[in-house]
Symmetry: C3
Subunit: 141 residues, 3 copies
């Protein structure tokens, strides 16, 4: 991470990354979404039986989930917020809250889940954020 | 848009604008709220039968809605977030998620709607953001 | 408040403060949470019979609430957002929306309350934000 970046620039950049990234997921653009993990990225979630390792496996797992939602006519909106951002050597550790809302024609909109999301972020050679590790824990699970 | 503005300054300015603007709406200060649209602003929403054009018409349409809520003793809170912000020539295009919560004495608080909000923002001569176009789509509508 | 701080730096700093502070509360780290009030801080909330004055009393009142939630197996997540931030002489006045979500094993996740949160913030000698006054009003109360 460039050592000259201010805390405000860091926060703005990470918030922009999350907004872009969550919108990709919710729009079903899973290939682009998965590309924001590092090649060796690891995604651990309460909903997964075990951690998913590697961008290709993360893509496959999420593709399946996205297809099921699309077939059921369900739109999800992932809100990430209240991010605590801590540079730590060459990485940035971020602990956020994440809410998942979902809507469909029959059911209207409702809260689906409240979670915490712990990321280890790295900058790639092009200066874009990539997720090396993500751990999502569902509140009340 | 000044070409010297950083991404962090742009994001902070737009977030400040949205916070101020949504609080005006929810406080029933509709005249001030409508003034944040350009004179020729266009507001398209799933709830409107057709796009509303011009600040005066946007004001009239929203005044009616705000009066009905006030009579019914309903408070709404508009949360805009997850904003993807893209400068595009002289304008800024922003795609956000927006949640509407509502509360009343009898009913407590509840999620009212999950939406997407697509804005075209411009800076006026005084350096304040104005909405030239807004499109709100209700999830699951 | 240093007069040289930009609006973007101010917003980023306050958002970082709120994220850190709300996570302390929701994690039950009440002593650290209470330390972010000034020694003579005043916390007024619809849920309190009268304003709570002084860091020690704020700590005691919140300790009790946190213990009850922990015993009941309830996790709360406080989301603060849509912050309107106004420097005012040596202090900063912030009016935000705050949502409280809660989750437990039996009940899943649900919206608990929608509120407004009005703060008077000051910088302490070490450059950290402290809350001198907080007023929380529950929507629909």
């Amino acid at each position: 991470m460039p050592t000259t970046i201010t805390a405000a620039d860091l926060r703005a950049g990470i918030e922009a990354f999350y907004a872009w990234h969550m919108q990709l997921l919710d729009d079903g653009r899973i290939e682009e979404w998965a590309a924001a993990f590092t090649q060796d990225g690891v995604f651990t979630a309460d909903g997964h039986p075990e951690p998913v390792s590697g961008r290709q496996n993360i893509l496959a797992a999420s593709r399946q989930g996205a297809d099921k939602l699309a077939e059921a006519g369900i739109v999800r909106r992932h809100w990430l917020g209240m991010s605590d951002i801590r540079p730590d050597g060459g990485v940035v550790r971020v602990r956020s809250y994440a809410l998942v809302f979902q809507a469909s024609k029959g059911e209207g909109a409702a809260l689906h889940a409240s979670t915490t999301c712990e990321d280890v972020l790295v900058l790639d050679d092009g200066g874009s954020w990539r997720i090396r590790e993500r751990v999502v824990r569902i509140d009340g699970a």
